[in-house]
């Protein structure tokens, strides 16, 4: 009989898969250095931050933080506990996708020939995206929704000449009366 191993060494972990698509939501003190403390928790354990969204809370004493992360799944519980242990973190949750709403926004700059413009606009309309800048040879589209939708729109646009993509990263909110 052997005991389940708790390890951050991926060669020993039960599943070597990297967790992707995990989203942590934190409520933290709005003070200099707080983000640095949180980043240290991740960096020390070889976790990568795929996206970071910080905004001031309704009470300006606090901030909201949404982190998209990837790394060894065996370490995720430890990461959440270590974040909660920080004095400046009021709480840190991982939200179940079914019980929360996740959205992100992307700005995509596409260079277009005049003949392609109609098709690009048609794709954007299909995804409910908006044209926020329109020039003779370029267009900036604003696409928003869940990450899969943004991915799909960017994918369809990729047959044209995308020169820049900027994404906000995910923001998450718990559904119903539950707190985020």
């Amino acid at each position: 009989m052997t005991r389940d191993i708790v390890t951050s060494d991926s060669s020993l972990a039960p599943s070597p898969d990297i967790v992707g698509g995990h989203t942590l939501s934190m409520f933290v003190n709005n003070k200099p250095g707080v983000l640095m403390r949180i980043c240290q928790v991740f960096a020390r354990r070889a976790y990568n931050l795929d996206s970071v969204v910080v905004s001031r809370g309704r009470d300006p004493q606090f901030s909201r933080l949404t982190l998209g992360i990837s790394g060894d799944p065996a370490g995720l519980e430890q990461i959440i506990k270590q974040c909660n242990k920080l004095i400046d973190v009021i709480h840190c949750f991982e939200h179940d996708e079914r019980e929360s709403v996740t959205r992100e926004l992307a700005l995509v700059k596409v260079l277009i020939d005049p003949g392609d413009r109609a098709e690009v606009l048609q794709i954007l309309e299909h995804f409910g995206a908006k044209t926020v800048d329109l020039g003779a040879s370029s267009i900036i589209a604003m696409i928003y929704g869940n990450s899969e939708k943004v991915d799909a729109a960017v994918h369809l646009l990729s047959k044209f000449d995308i020169v820049e993509t900027v994404r906000t990263g995910k923001v998450v909110m718990a559904r119903g009366e539950a707190s985020t």
């Binding site: 009989m1 052997t2 005991r3 389940d4 191993i5 708790v6 390890t7 933290v28 003190n29 200099p32 250095g33 640095m36 403390r37 240290q40 020390r44 004493q61 606090f62 519980e77 430890q78 506990k81 270590q82 909660n84 242990k85 920080l86 004095i87 400046d88 973190v89 009021i90 709480h91």
Partner: protein, 575 residues
């Protein structure tokens, strides 16, 4: 409301005084000038001790805290002053020792401009503190100081640093000297509200155990739960092993004691961990030094884990029952639900191991560290406060200097900091002037902080410094002998000074021990000498090895109780 006539520095020192701080250990410098001046202008009970290096100041505060359970304060300047504290802060953090570190800092408008002695102390120390502050408003100094004290001393204790720019400390203070603390993300009071169901499940598991072991750690000492531990052990007739930092929570001379477990723990403690059917871990974090190979640890056992820090649960070992809370409160609840167990066969089995694998050493063929420590133990009746450095001498001290009470064994466990022992002994002696304090150090670690001989001499502290001198970095040499074909690399300390003459240069009494027959006589002389510190240099066998030994990452059942007869593979576990 400018009625206080204080500056920020004075408000800071006044707050520390009101909090009951007794000692500040430190080293002055430009950016801390206003705070040092406030030490002279604010009346109170705080005593300042000038160390000879900032690392020494930290270890003194650490030794004071470990010997009393109360925090001391470290006060240093900016830049290199703050930088020199990092090892000392890390040492306290790894072993959950309360400490408040105040660092001077450049003026706020020079921050980030590479000004003289400016360093990003806030950023540099962030990974090695429980929390830290960079003060931006003079009037917030009392609140931040109270918050730092509260954070350092509650929950799982640890070091908290306050970085104070010079303009902040020397500006006029116009605020509230006794403000409320404001820490919305910190709730140590939850440690006293424990999960009653978890306690009941633990009691249920305990009631079925036939071969239980209690694994006690530093958390019991911090919670002052020694009496509750004794009640648990004696009610259950359950043997107790402790971690290195737990030495003293349960008398090591008690018949239920198995001594220390782990890499260089007793064979019987490690055998017990392998064969037991229940491990009750109270206040230990399942450090890699005690679990060996995690997937084989406690393979036959149910595991109950009690810890105040939720992040310790499932970190190294998945327990069957986890109870998050203060060790004293948990044990009080648990003790109400337990009944005696029939363990006589189990105890007889372990007694067999005690007979078969006693801690022993040879008295022929030169002076061994084990003998010096054994005789020190006998001569002091096990009542001295013992501090150590890190290495072979530390492990032998843990084995042969049995500890019967909390706060008497002060050793750097998690960080493994060489140079800790001597300054920690100075701090402990300040805290407990009437107790015998012995710094057991190796010739390597001692030379890292021996500048504090001046501090000890100046204050006429009766600290005994026992230098177990083998002219080697012995533990590293042992690994090179066992795992690297005996190729010595970077371990020979040739060039050591004459430690007795060096002591005499500081006006300190020195003794030499060269022969096994002289140990008792010389140690007695040193113990009787109370006119200030003394240094005892014991010239020991150079190439002795510490056993038992569990190679790093090996399972506990693969323990070596004597030198191996075959070549060993390089360990693959932790360092």
């Amino acid at each position: 409301m400018s009625t206080t006539n204080l500056d920020g520095a004075q408000a800071l020192i006044k707050t520390l005084n009101d909090l009951g701080v007794e000692y500040i250990f430190g080293y002055s410098g430009g950016a801390a000038l206003p705070i040092f001046d406030a030490l002279e202008t604010v009346s109170g009970n705080i005593k300042f001790v000038l160390s000879r290096h900032e690392q020494g100041a930290c270890h003194m505060a650490d030794g004071y805290a470990r010997a009393t359970g109360k925090p001391a304060v470290v006060l240093v300047t900016s830049g290199p002053g703050a930088g020199n504290t990092i090892t000392g802060i890390m040492t306290a953090q790894m072993d959950s020792v309360p400490m408040i570190i105040i660092t001077g800092q450049q003026v706020t408008w020079m921050l980030g401009k590479d000004a003289f002695q400016e360093a990003d102390t806030f950023g540099l120390t962030m990974p090695v503190v429980k929390h830290n502050f960079l003060v931006r408003e003079t009037n917030s100094l009392p609140r931040i100081t109270k918050e730092a004290y509260h954070i350092a001393t509650t929950g799982r204790p640890g070091p908290v640093l306050i970085d104070v720019p010079k303009d902040i400390s020397q500006s006029e203070f116009t605020g509230d000297l006794d403000p409320d603390i404001d820490l919305p993300g910190y709730h140590p009071e939850t440690a006293f509200e424990i999960n009653a169901d978890a306690v009941t499940r633990a009691a249920e598991i305990i009631s079925h155990a036939k071969k239980p072991v209690i694994l006690g750690g530093h958390g019991i000492m911090i919670a002052r739960a020694d009496d509750e531990l004794m009640e648990l052990a004696t009610t259950l007739n359950c043997p107790v092993t402790t971690t290195l930092l737990g030495k003293g929570i349960f008398p090591e001379t008690h018949e239920l004691s198995l001594g220390m477990l782990g890499m260089h723990g007793t064979a019987y403690a490690n055998k017990a961990m392998v064969e037991c059917d229940l491990i009750i871990n109270i206040g230990s974090r399942f450090d890699d030094r005690i679990i060996g190979q995690p997937e084989k640890f406690g393979a036959l056992a149910k595991i109950i884990h009690v810890d105040i820090d939720p992040s310790e649960m499932n970190k190294m070992i998945h327990p069957d029952v986890e109870i998050i809370g203060d060790a004293k409160v948990v044990l009080q609840a648990l003790n109400k639900q337990i009944a005696p167990l029939e363990t006589s066969g189990w105890l007889a089995n372990l007694d067999g191991y005690k007979q078969k694998f006693p801690l022993a050493y040879r008295k022929q063929g030169g002076l061994r560290m084990q003998q010096v420590l054994d005789e020190l133990y006998q001569l002091t009746d096990g009542k001295a406060v013992v501090t150590t450095d890190v290495g072979q001498h530390q492990m032998w001290a843990a084995q042969f200097y049995k500890t019967n009470a909390s706060f008497n064994w002060l050793s750097s466990g998690g960080a493994g900091t060489m140079g800790f022992g001597f300054p920690a002994a100075i701090g402990a002696q300040f805290a407990r002037p009437n107790d015998i304090v012995v710094a057991v150090v190796g010739d390597g670690g001692y030379q890292m902080t021996l500048c504090e001989l001046a501090t000890a001499a100046l204050h006429k502290l009766p600290v005994k410094v026992l230098v177990l001198n083998n002219h080697y970095l012995g533990m590293v040499r042992q690994w090179q002998e066992l795992f690297f074909d005996n190729r010595e690399s970077g371990v020979n300390l040739e060039g050591n000074p004459d430690f007795v003459k060096l002591a005499e240069a500081y006006g300190i009494k020195g003794f030499n021990i060269k022969r096994p027959a002289d140990v008792g006589k010389v140690l007695q002389k040193a113990l009787d000498y109370n006119d200030g510190p003394c240094v005892i240099n014991a010239e020991c066998v150079k190439t002795e090895n510490v056993f038992p030994m569990i190679p790093a990452g090996a399972a506990l059942e693969d323990m070596l109780v004597e030198p191996p007869k075959h070549k060993m593979a390089k360990p693959t576990g932790s360092t």
